[in-house]
Amino acid sequence: MVENLLSLAIWTPIVAGLLVIATGGDKNANTARLLALAGAALGFLVTLPLYTQFDTLHGGMQFEEKFAWIASLNINYHLGVDGISMLFVILNSFTTFLVVLAGWQVIEKRVAQYMAAFLVMSGLINGAFAALDAVLFYVFFEAMLIPMYLIIGVWGGPRRVYASIKFFLYTLLGSLLMLVAFIYLYFQAGYSFEILKYHTLPLPLTAQILIFIAFFMSFAVKVPMWPVHTWLPDAHVEAPTGGSMVLAAITLKIGAYGFLRFVLPIVPDASRELAWLMVALSLVAVVYIGLVALVQTDMKKLVAYSSISHMGFVTLGLFLFAGNELNPWAIEGAIVQMVSHGFVSAAMFMCIGVMYDRLHTRNIADYGGVVNRMPIFAAFFLLFAMANSGLPATSGFVGEFMVIMGALQVNFWAAFAAATTLIFGAAYTLWMYKRVVFGDVANSHVAEMEDVNKREFLILAILAVMVLGMGLYPEMFVKVMHVSVNDLIAHVAQSKL
């Protein structure tokens, strides 16, 4: 058994990214690509033992590593994963591999920098998922934004400046408040930044509510929850395909992960008090955003809104309390939905990217009859559209179904509102699919489209296997999270007042 698996998961892609940068200018672009692919593949492979060697019988943190970092302030390089965060480390490394492939020929300028940005970001994101020290988490959490800013800012679309400023405005306030919360907790916990110590720290309700608000400001923007979601469609529209894939598949998950790792266990009483608000905002996201997605004319915006709506299921599932207890269907459903959304949204953005590379437009109206020219692509796109609509046997079904089942056990009308996604989700996804893919060849540009190449086929096929695999055998993902989820439910049920 290899020690330091988590450090490997973090630093392998970062080191690989630095090596890629070292290849220099675009004359070595091919070397950069190959090196990046090797780094991403290695980065993914080192995360696999996290799953295979994971102890599903015992709770708590596994693969822990702890060294003093800034001893004077008692800040530690402390890593560890439970059955929840482990999945996201793997998902993130998996997505990075696909993203490197997705940018293979598409990115022609500053290739090394592009690939390096993704690799470094991948390592930093793994760090955020694995960190058990608040400062370490905060550093990773903030640092991972830098590559994303660069990706949108350098390789993005025409309105990239507006998009990144909007994103900046949104995140700044929240992050600062989170830091304030950490500092407060540091003193309360007797000069410690240990996240696990915060979990057991008794806190009065007022303090809990203030901490809740501080965390909420930070994580709700990331998820994003209504009404702090409007940065996401803009960011997606401007980001290159790979950026959108990571943004949707991974970055959004960090917000939801924050609620799981920080909000629920650190301030359980405040979570209970404010659960109604979280549930209400989540349901607004599901219904309101679902309807907004319906009227989008830009494919990327549509899928971005669809992401917000699907993330609404995650936050809904996380805050369904029956009395003191969180509902296991809902919590596990939310986590399943997070993983599934990682596959499905990445696939949807990939599909849009494939079409964009050919026609250089994301407007639904510029397409029509794509299936006539790209039958293989159309088949993949249909599978992912169906997964996005929550069709059983795809991963998209499992999470939604579980959260609806859980919601019904807490409040029938919450389940009722959530279940409307069966209708709206199918409506916005398949209506777009109809206008883009079906019909006769709409114009001379569509007539010139060529079907997917081998590289695109490979990416779509890998994602298809995941989407179907998770839909047909979700147990594979769920069995590793049971103990951690049960611990969380038991922990949150205890008052900390």
């Binding site: 909007k166 405005l169 949104y170 009404p227 409007t230 940065w231 309101y288 955003i289 309807l291 907004v292 997605a293 319906l294 009227v295 989008q296 296991p328 269907w329 596990e332 009859g369 299936v371 006539n372 169906m386 069709l391 059983p392 046997a393 079904f397 499992v398 179904f401 579980m402 609806i404 089942m405 019904l408 056990q409 029938f412 009308w413 389940a415 009722f416 279940a419 409307t420 069966l422 209708i423 709206f424 199918a426 409506a427 398949l430 209506w431 109809k434 893919v437 079906f438 019909g439 006769d440 047909l472 055998y473 979700p474 147990e475 769920v478 069995k479 049971h482």
Partner: protein, 677 residues
């Protein structure tokens, strides 16, 4: 062979065929694609027949899991099979009709460029439908439920260049999703209130104790748990089995190729709702309210959809409305707790309606894809096999004694007659009046197509585009010198094979299925509360006696009257229908516009939700959140910085003034006691 392996083979063989034809169709070619899929379905059909025979001869029903799909809260949710008599009967119906349709497709789709794709889809459908009927739990049922919906979507939109086809398939999927919305919530109710398991056996065992359980959905008003659960589940059935008001997708589904109209939109998929409610009889029996809802929905569908069949001129649409009406009959039977009668009619209907659809398809081939009955006539001379088999199918449909439909439909009417459930009075009127209507539109079709004047000789072919040959579906109509011709044997053989059960299956099956042990322990009926089946059993003295007795019953004479009226109107005095059409102005317009339901739904739901979405987007997201909050706070920061910039003017006197004002202000507050001294 172990039965579990056999059942796995039955389910998976069509999936394998589908994968071969779908993924490798481009490599293996057309012939191999149909050989592979037909072989797969043949394996399933033989296996299903073997299974039914095995069970009828005392074999043990099977109820077991294949693998654990999900574990939550310590409870396992598995993929598994329940194979009892009900399942086995469904398996035989599904696989045998599917096999016929597969063979038929060789002829019907022979010129279509999507040949392999079509075979792949229909085999995938067979797999999905088998997973649905063979399931032993609610999750897998829902999987099959939505999977058949997916394949239906793919097949309605098979000719994806046709705007009407891709409108119809989206509509079908979304209307079905409305049903599934209810169905999913129904499953949620079962999961939450029936002990945490979703296995049929466990749920049905828990049900009786919950008969009088109530829940408070709205604070202060209590509802019967069983009623709410059953109605939610039934909403799913309304979508899939096209019951009013969720029926609107089925007529439009005729945009798909005819073989799938026969397989999916007549014989099998649309009966999934009927099958589901029958399977859930231990639940539905516990709520009279839910049964009344079922009964009324079915009655409305049976009668009012029949009316629409009268005014259609498209041959497929007549059969489609007939299907709607017949599904209504089955639902009525469910409502009066005559589940076995519903399933019995499901079976007989599967054979004769598949036959009628495939015969209509044969006519359409003969007419070179002209579907308008006004352009047909006299085809019996040119298409003898299609003619005879159509006649058999029509006779079965209208309930002619000794034909299959007679036993099932008459039993439904008698069951409604014997019921005392709220709504059964209206239902009885609906199903009896429906007999006349059914006979009328069926023989209207029959006479218009096969008898009378050969109108196709006179049709003007202004809209005839021979240049659009690759638009396989758009060129239609016979050329000036063409004559209709009988279809090839691959088309006519399935017609003949389906005609056989359309005649005999009712006579053979009525006794075991309705009054024997066939459904013993599977379908549960509370005979005290719902005595319809028990009353009928008292009056049943064998199929032969029932046939003989038919001549003394109202339905027989109504059916005859329908046939005679159709003959008189369309053979003898064709000016009468035209005159009626003129005189009945608004009613005719209402029928022709399908009661305006399509228009109302489109305006209300399709346009309404887009309007709402546009409002949320423009007002909520753009004006309020972005305009006011985001850009507003950006402006606020800007404003603040402008103000503070002015403060830092660098002029001593402005600093001094500010200081003096501040000190004065603080002193005032101090003196007035606002700040503690």
């Amino acid at each position: 062979m172990e039965m579990k392996s056999l059942y796995l083979l039955i389910a998976l063989a069509p999936l394998l065929g589908s994968a071969l034809a779908g993924l490798f169709g481009w490599a293996i070619g057309r012939r191999a694609a149909h050989v592979a899929t037909i072989a797969g379905v043949m394996v399933s059909a033989i296996g299903s027949a073997y299974t039914l025979n095995y069970l009828l001869n005392g074999g043990e029903p099977f109820n077991g899991n294949i693998y654990t799909w999900l574990t939550v809260n310590g409870i396992e949710y598995s993929v598994g099979f329940l194979v009892d008599n009900l399942t086995a009967m469904m398996m035989v119906v599904v696989t045998s009709v599917s096999l016929m349709v597969h063979i038929y497709t060789i002829g019907y789709m022979s010129e279509d460029p999507g040949y392999q794709r079509f075979f792949s889809y229909i085999s995938l459908f067979t797999f999905s439908m088998l997973m649905l009927v063979m399931s032993n739990n609610f999750v897998q049922l829902f999987f099959g439920w939505e999977a058949v919906g997916l394949v239906s979507y793919l097949l309605i939109g098979f000719w994806f260049k046709k705007p009407t086809a891709i409108f119809a398939n989206l509509k079908a999927f979304l209307v079905n999703r409305v049903g599934d919305f209810g169905f999913a919530l129904g499953i949620g109710m079962v999961l939450y209130h029936f002990g945490g398991s979703l296995n049929y056996t466990d749920v049905f065992a828990a049900a009786p104790a919950l008969k009088d359980a109530t829940i408070e959905l709205i604070p202060g008003s209590t509802w019967s748990l069983m009623t709410v659960t059953c109605i939610l589940l039934f909403i799913g059935a309304m979508g899939k089995s096209a019951q009013f008001p969720l029926h609107v997708w089925l007529p439009d589904s005729m945009e798909g190729p005819t073989p799938i109209s026969a397989l999916i939109h007549a014989a099998t998929m649309v009966t999934a709702g009927i099958f589901m409610v029958s399977r859930m009889s231990p639940l539905f029996e516990l709520s009279d309210t839910a049964l009344s809802v079922v009964l009324v929905a079915g009655s409305i569908t049976a009668l009012f959809m029949g009316f629409l069949g009268i005014v259609q001129n498209d041959i497929k649409r007549v059969v489609a409305y007939s299907t709607l009406s017949q599904l209504g009959y089955m639902t009525v039977a469910l409502g009066v707790s005559a589940y076995n009668v519903a399933v019995f009619h499901l079976m007989t209907h599967a054979f004769f309606k598949a036959l009628l659809f495939l015969a209509a398809g044969s006519v359409i081939i003969g007419m070179h894809h002209d579907q308008d009955m006004r352009n047909m006539g006299g085809l019996r001379k040119y298409m003898p096999i299609t003619w005879i088999t159509s006649l058999i199918g029509s006779l079965a449909l209208i309930g002619t004694p000794f034909f299959a439909g007679f036993y099932s439909k008459d039993s439904i009417i008698e069951a409604v007659h014997a019921s005392n459930l709220a709504g059964s009075g209206f239902a009885y009127f609906a199903v009896v009046a429906g007999v006349f209507i059914t006979a009328f539109y069926s023989f209207r079709l029959y006479f218009l197509v096969f008898h009378g004047e050969e109108r196709w000789m006179k049709v003007q072919h202004d809209d005839h585009h021979h240049d659009a040959h690759d638009d396989h579906d758009h060129h239609h109509g016979l050329g000036p010198n063409d004559k209709p011709h009988e279809s090839p044997w691959v088309v006519t053989l399935p017609l003949v094979l389906l005609a056989i059960p359309s005649v005999f299956v009712g006579y053979i099956a009525i006794e075991p299925m309705l009054y024997g042990d066939f459904f013993k322990g599977i379908i549960y009926i509370d005979h005290e509360a719902h005595p319809a089946m028990a009353t009928m059993a008292e009056h049943f003295h064998g199929a032969a006696a029932m046939t003989a007795h038919a001549l003394q019953t109202l339905p027989f004479w109504l059916a005859l009257a329908g046939v005679v009226t159709a003959w008189f109107f369309y053979m003898k005095a064709p000016q009468i229908p035209a005159a009626i059409k003129r005189m009945s102005g608004p009613i005719y317009t209402l029928l022709e516009n399908k009661y305006y339901l399509d228009d109302i739904y489109f305006a209300l739901f399709a346009k309404g939700s887009r309007l709402l979405g546009m409002g949320f987007w423009k007002v909520g997201d753009q004006a309020l959140i972005d305009g006011l909050l985001v850009n507003g706070s950006a402006k606020l920061v800007g404003l603040f910085s402008r103000v503070t910039r002015k403060l830092q003017s660098g002029f001593i006197y402005s600093y001094a003034t500010a200081m003096i004002i501040g000190v004065l202000g603080l002193m005032t507050l101090w003196l007035s006691g606002v700040i503690a001294r």
